[in-house]
């Protein structure tokens, strides 16, 4: 394949539109594997994948693990607590140890922005980011655009609203990069404390009034709001947040008929969106989970095939 020559996937900012589309198209193939009776292909037989989760995330780790298993790879999970592996000295040592063990792929989740890049620059193995600090969560971004494309049949001209804690969100960044490259129109929605103006330079629009834009959206992606931000003074309280930016039933009633409601999970019902909306006809939240597996299979497969070429 000439459309893909990366051993690593550390961000979507550096991918071209063609590369993103190539991953999505590959993921379509792999999604069909998940619908078969025998949900396994031999694509990564003999390869070893390490799930290195320095920051905990059961959902993402499980998704990567299942993706690897369905590709017939051998999987090792390393769930380091931040106390044993949060200091940078040991990240390099860990990397060298993994190299010494002839690992082919490393999936890294880390609280420090840039940590996957740090490993990718130092290892022959492929490094795939499973989220780094407030930087990016590239496979989440890919699964989100995959889901939109699958449901709406296109990305060009699609109006996507991303609501919430944009400032600290790796999901938002990966979404913005992928969506703008593929021609979607992105509007960021939230209080100015959580939606800094710099995001306009990434090609997104910004508004602080959800009600003004709600009815025009094809997709609304609601990000998780963390209590820590309230303590740090980014907004006065979850009640006020929900009143201004929560997708309640009244607001959901104003959505376009075919509009999609997305959320990267886990959901705080009653804060970002009401339970009825999360389970309602607009919601594609469980599709996102299913598609995450297909997208991750595609990413593992593509990166492994390049890492393979190098040692041949």
């Amino acid at each position: 394949m000439t459309s893909w020559n990366r051993k690593d996937l550390t961000d979507l900012a550096g991918l071209s539109a063609e590369e993103i589309v190539h991953v999505l198209d590959t993921a379509v193939e792999f999604k069909s594997v998940g619908q078969r009776k025998l949900k396994k292909v031999p694509s990564l037989r003999g390869k070893t994948l390490v799930n290195l989760f320095v920051e905990a995330s059961t959902r993402t780790r499980t998704s990567f693990e299942l993706a690897a298993v369905r590709l017939s790879a051998d999987v090792v999970n390393i769930t380091a607590t931040s106390s044993s592996l949060s200091k940078g000295e040991s990240l390099k040592d860990t990397a060298k140890n993994l190299e010494a063990l002839s690992v082919d792929l490393i999936v890294l989740r880390h609280a420090a922005a840039g940590a996957p890049q740090f490993l990718a620059d130092r290892l022959r193995a492929g490094v795939i980011s499973a989220g780094d600090g407030s930087h990016e969560h590239p496979t989440q971004g890919l699964l989100d655009v995959f889901t939109i494309r699958e449901r709406l049949g296109r990305l060009e001209g699609v109006k996507v609203g991303i609501v919430g804690d944009i400032r600290f969100s790796r999901v938002a960044r990966s979404n913005i990069h992928a969506l703008t490259k593929l021609g979607a129109e992105v509007t960021l929605i939230g209080p100015p404390t959580l939606v800094p103006r710099e995001f306009e330079k990434l090609g997104a629009r910004i508004t602080h009034r959800l009600d003004d834009v709600l009815a025009g959206l094809d997709v609304i992606n609601l990000l998780r709001i963390q209590h820590e931000r309230q303590k740090a003074g980014y907004f006065p309280g979850t009640g006020e947040y929900a009143a201004l930016f929560g997708l309640n039933a009244a607001r959901a009633a104003r959505l376009k008929p075919g509009a999609l409601v997305m959320h990267p999970g886990p959901i705080h019902r009653g804060t970002e969106l009401d339970g009825a909306v999360a389970d309602g006809p607009h919601s594609v939240i469980l599709d996102q989970v299913t598609n995450g597996l297909a997208v991750r299979m595609a990413v593992l497969y593509l990166c492994a095939s390049v890492a393979q070429k190098e040692d041949a």
Partner: protein, 426 residues
């Protein structure tokens, strides 16, 4: 054999006296002289610039306590290799230089192992914690040239006010690392702007510096103390300082090479060689800093030489320490940027910012070629082309973003008290 040299036929620039002509400089018994000494070493400086020895008022020598990063010996050798004959040592060592015993220790080490003159500073507050004034009088008696909590910034304005009032009694300048930590807190890793947004790194907005520069302007006006703002990085700081100085407030500032050579875009690959405090900012800030140098608002150049070990810097961005080495690249970068690329200042002005201006701020008997003064000379070729190679550095630090840069301008010989401390190998 006493230190006697006759430096012949160079372009002699001594901004303190306004001298700029082709001629000779004589050092007899370690001091400048109007007449040559018989039997002195002869140095041919034809085609080169001869100036008072350069003074770097912002250097981290890391001793005591962090000799893996640097020692007074290696740090001063790096200074000599960079064309500096004097360095001012910051007090954020381990332990913090906050009492006369440590000042005396630094002076003894410098006398024994230093390749160039070392002028220690003392902390403003005990442990640089920003709470209790350090024994500034006792340290003044021991020979400090300034006080500073560099690396940290006194957040309590009342404490800073008392420090300023107290320093006046000894006519000691008060240096400030301008950073409001309620605006740029412990997490801040880089300039707050487009690139921090893309990279997802916590930002350090300009305002955190500007608000402290404004405070210092007010305190200098209120107390009459001489306050010096270190390593300015933000456009607004220059504006505030310009306004204060126009009213005669005794506020000064310094600029470091990296803040006029690089922008925050350099961080896009998360290389920790670009992680510094204050952070690299934007082109508009560079333009403002150059404007401040051009119009005299800022009249001192410094390095903030901050060596770290390789293993400390080779970590995730958030975990890496701030700072880069600067002594051996500074003169080349200042020549390249100030003289060749932008013409922001001319050569005599640049020399003044490295000699007489820092000497005056510190009350040093140096920075000029006047007869009877210590015979410190830097021989400079402002057009000399060279390529930065960090593996050839005398400093222990390898943390530089300038490795591989081609620069025009280099000190070829560094003379301290009439003795050659370093000369370029041919």
């Amino acid at each position: 054999m006493s230190a006697c040299v006759n430096i012949r036929g160079g372009r002699v620039i001594d901004p303190a006296t306004g001298r700029d002509d082709k001629g000779d400089v004589f050092i007899v018994d370690g001091k400048f002289s109007d007449v040559p000494a018989p039997g002195a070493q002869e140095i041919d400086a034809a085609g080169l610039v001869v100036c008072p020895g350069f003074i770097d008022i912002h250097v981290h020598l890391r001793e005591p306590g962090q000799s893996a990063k640097e020692t007074i010996e290696t740090g001063t050798r790096a200074a000599a290799a960079g064309g500096f004959t004097s360095v001012v040592a910051m007090p954020n060592t381990q332990p913090v230089a906050d009492h006369p015993g440590i000042i005396a220790w630094v002076q003894e080490r410098a006398a024994a192992a230093g390749a160039v003159n070392v002028f220690p500073t003392g902390a403003i507050t005990v442990g640089s914690k920003g709470e209790q004034l350090a024994p500034i009088g006792a340290m003044a008696a021991a020979g400090i040239v300034a006080v500073t909590d560099d690396g940290r910034c006194v957040q309590n304005h009342e404490v800073m006010r008392r420090a300023a009032e107290y320093c006046r009694m000894f006519d000691l300048p008060l240096f400030d690392h301008c950073q409001d930590t309620s605006v740029a807190g412990a997490e801040a890793a880089m300039h707050e702007g487009f690139w921090s947004t893309v990279l997802g790194l916590p930002g350090w907005p300009r305002m955190a510096e500007e608000i402290i520069v404004a405070r210092d302007a007010m305190l200098a006006e209120l107390t009459g103390a001489r306050i010096h703002c270190q390593h300015l990085s933000a456009a607004g700081s220059v504006r505030i300082m310009r306004e204060a100085r126009a009213r005669g407030v005794s506020l000064s500032g310094e600029v470091c090479p990296h803040h006029i050579a690089l922008t925050d875009e350099s961080l896009k690959d998360y290389s920790t060689d670009f992680k510094m405090n204050p952070p690299l900012r934007e082109q508009t800030d560079i333009d403002a800093l150059l404007g401040g140098l051009a119009d005299g608002t800022i009249d001192i150049l410094a390095t903030d030489h901050a060596p770290h070990t390789v293993y400390e810097k080779e970590v995730e961005f958030a975990a890496a320490p701030f700072g880069i080495v600067g002594l051996e690249t500074a003169v080349g970068l200042f020549c390249e940027i100030l003289l060749h690329r932008t013409g922001a200042v001319d050569l005599p002005r640049m020399v003044a910012m490295l000699t007489v201006n820092p000497a005056r701020l510190l009350g040093l008997d140096r920075g000029t070629l006047g007869a009877g003064r210590p015979g410190d000379v830097t021989i400079l070729d402002p057009a000399r082309e060279w390529v930065v190679d960090k593996e050839l550095f005398a400093t222990k630090g390898r943390n530089t973003p300038f490795h591989g840069w081609k620069l025009r301008g280099r000190a070829l010989r560094t003379i301290v008290g009439g003795r050659t401390a370093w000369e370029i190998s041919r």
